[in-house]
């Protein structure tokens, strides 16, 4: 298994009472609550953590994109990946992901990713996402066109990476008389593309298609949902006529390792609960703007509204496998067990979440790297007999 250290870079210094009062940390939470001095301090801390992950032996590090929120201070993951490109030498740098439909000119993404891939001599892993609902409010992109724009931007970027130009691209949403990007990506045919998702059949059909075989990441979901969607990917691959490798699957999950199970829970609790119940909180109008996803998916989420939008404490979150927490031995055994059940070949560990302070994050990283990660990295591709297809 490959193990990645993933960061959201939350604005951990935010006034949480204000977030609770406004009801969300997204879009409506005024940036008068943002202090540039504290922002600079957090950037430095978070980048140091990501850089240290290379020394600790992680296979890769990851950043992502969110806009107008204290949940994550990376409106451009390109900037953070660039900052990391010259300060790291071995690890893969993952952008998980770039929100393609939010761009007016996704050709700039093809260019920027090619630059980072070149700077790192091929250490870039690209991630393609649609962006979350709230971000369609930010950019005034019509959410009913989100899927179309995603697929068109994807096609444009992959063609820009793999075909020599100049050529013309003519889509419904994006039109370019000349596509001819310099530099071209360092990796051939192009940097790996991963698809982070909260789970949908459409996304799985797209990612698992034999022409693509993109690595599918299930993000921040209960373990049962992770298993369901990873199994769906495998089943779809079989229907397409091939057997998916574990390396085509990944799970992104918050992890906290303490001295003991009890101290781990005590230390992680307030910070995880802030992450889940403050930073991630948003009203349904922001989570699901009109037409953002299929009517059936919208109905499912709306029907589950009460459970999704209520507060969640750390114990039920652990119970559901929405976070993994405990001593090194507990976390290791838990993750090895999950691997046996689900077969994710990539673990994207969120080792800083919410308000988790520097000392606890460092201790978490150290314990994880020493007591959990080696056992995971030793796990090879599971023998075919152990792969179960739903």
């Amino acid at each position: 298994m490959k193990v990645f250290f993933f960061h959201l870079m939350p604005y951990a210094e935010v006034d949480l009472d204000e977030v609770r009062k406004v009801g969300t940390s997204w879009v409506r939470l005024s940036n008068r609550l943002y202090d540039p001095e504290k922002g600079a301090m957090l950037y430095e801390r978070y980048l140091n953590q990501l850089e240290r992950a290379e020394e600790l032996g992680f296979d890769g590090i990851g950043v992502n994109e969110h806009h107008q929120t204290a949940y994550g201070m990376m409106p451009s993951p390109i900037v953070m990946a660039s900052a990391l490109a010259r300060r790291t030498h071995r690890v893969k740098i993952c952008i998980l992901g770039s929100a393609l439909p939010l761009r007016q000119h996704p050709l700039t993404l093809a260019e920027e990713h090619a630059m980072i891939d070149t700077l790192t001599r091929g250490r870039l892993i690209a991630g393609f996402v649609r962006g979350i609902g709230a971000e369609y409010h930010v950019f005034g992109v019509d959410p009913t066109t989100s899927h179309e724009r995603f697929h068109e931007a994807h096609d444009l970027i992959v063609r820009a990476w793999t075909e020599t130009g100049p050529f013309e691209f003519s889509g419904k949403h994006y039109r370019h008389r000349y596509v001819n990007t310099w530099p071209r990506p360092y990796q051939r045919p192009h940097p790996p593309i991963w698809i982070p998702s909260q789970g949908s059949q459409e996304t799985i059909d797209f990612a698992s298609h034999p022409d693509r075989r993109y690595t599918y990441l299930q993000t921040f979901s209960p373990a049962a949902a992770v298993k369901k969607y990873l199994d769906l990917y495998r089943a779809r691959a079989q229907q397409y006529g091939y057997t998916a490798l574990d390396s085509q699957l990944g799970w992104a999950v918050p992890v906290y390792v303490g001295q003991t199970d009890e101290s781990a829970i005590a230390e992680a609790r307030p910070h995880f609960e802030n992450f889940r119940n403050c930073f991630a909180r948003m009203p349904i109008e922001f989570l699901l703007p009109p037409g953002y996803t299929s009517r059936e998916s919208m109905k499912r989420v709306a029907a589950a509204k009460k459970s999704m939008f209520g507060d969640l404490a750390i114990e039920p979150a652990m119970e559901m496998g929405m976070m993994v927490c405990g001593s090194a031995a507990t976390v290791r055994d838990r993750l090895v067990d999950y691997y046996g059940e689900m077969g994710f070949g990539n673990l994207i560990a969120l080792l800083q979440f919410g308000t988790l302070p520097a000392e606890l994050t460092d201790a978490n990283m150290d314990r994880f790297a020493a007591g959990v990660m080696p056992a995971l990295q030793a796990l090879g591709e599971r023998p075919a007999g152990q792969r179960r297809v739903a």
């Binding site: 409010h137 005034g140 959410p143 009913t144 703007p289 037409g291 109905k299 509204k305």
Partner: protein
């Protein structure tokens, strides 16, 4: 009023029809149509009332060409031709008022008059607007009605999970397709409003929290000869909370036209 359908080229729309007299085409707002409201019942006493559900909304089709407000305007020009209507009193409410303006700048050949009820469509710098896309259904009613009693009554009638209702989801997606960006307006529309050459009346609720009443005079200044009626003690949904006043305003305007 009776429900029926009409198929214009590749698009079938659902309509409410009733009454007799001069034809009156009513274009509904973003919340959708398909329901006979009291002001419609009253108008059907004097007019041949036709109230379609727009393409993309309610029981109507979602055609492939449904991309923007201009598509809907051209559809309604086809619709008037298909039904061979002439001397039509066109009445549009909110989103429907915007569509009515987009129709009228293209052609008034089949129109006798235009009544715009708190129409969207024109951005006036400095004037307050709400953002229904950021509101829950409950909040939309509280912002949309001036009379709290109407708002609470509407809220109490909401199904448990309105966000899971097919028609609600469909109407909201159609509204977004037309009005998400630019938000509830067409920046090019003001350039052509001078083309409207039928008698035009703009009716607005004095306490509209979605599109503030100041829009009425601003839009009237762009349409030759347009008059303004501001309805006191009314919000954006004056077609419900001031049904009688709205019907009277339409009657007064169209009888002079």
């Amino acid at each position: 009023m009776q429900k029926s359908t009409e198929t214009i080229r590749d698009c079938t729309v659902s309509l409410l029809r009733g009454g007799s007299g001069p034809p009156l085409l009513f274009l509904h707002g973003a919340g959708g149509g398909g329901i006979e409201l009291p002001f419609m019942t009253r108008l059907a006493e004097r007019y041949r009332l036709i109230a379609p559900e727009h393409p993309g909304f309610g029981a109507s089709d979602e055609p492939d060409w449904f991309d923007n407000i201009h598509d809907v305007a051209y559809f309604y020009l086809d619709f008037l031709e298909h039904l061979d209507l002439a001397g039509v009193h066109l009445v549009g409410m909110s989103l429907g008022g915007w569509i009515a303006m987009e129709v009228a700048v293209r052609s008034t050949a089949r129109l006798a008059s235009l009544t715009l009820v708190c129409p969207a469509g024109v951005h006036v710098p400095g004037l307050a607007t709400g953002d229904p896309f950021a509101w829950s259904p409950e909040e939309t009613f509280r912002q949309g009605f001036h009379d709290r009693a109407f708002a609470e009554a509407a809220i109490s009638r909401l199904p448990d999970a309105v966000e899971a209702d097919d028609i609600w989801l469909k109407n909201r997606a159609a509204f977004a397709r037309l009005a998400w960006e630019p938000r509830m307006h067409d920046p090019h529309l003001p350039k052509w409003l001078h083309r409207i050459d039928v008698p035009t009346r703009i009716v607005w609720g004095a306490h509209d929290n979605i599109l503030s009443a100041g829009h009425a005079e601003a839009i009237a200044a762009m349409i030759p000869g347009a008059g303004v009626t501001v309805v006191p003690e009314a919000g954006h949904f004056l077609h419900i909370e001031k049904a009688g006043e709205l019907a009277a305003a339409v009657e007064a305007h169209t009888q002079g036209a």
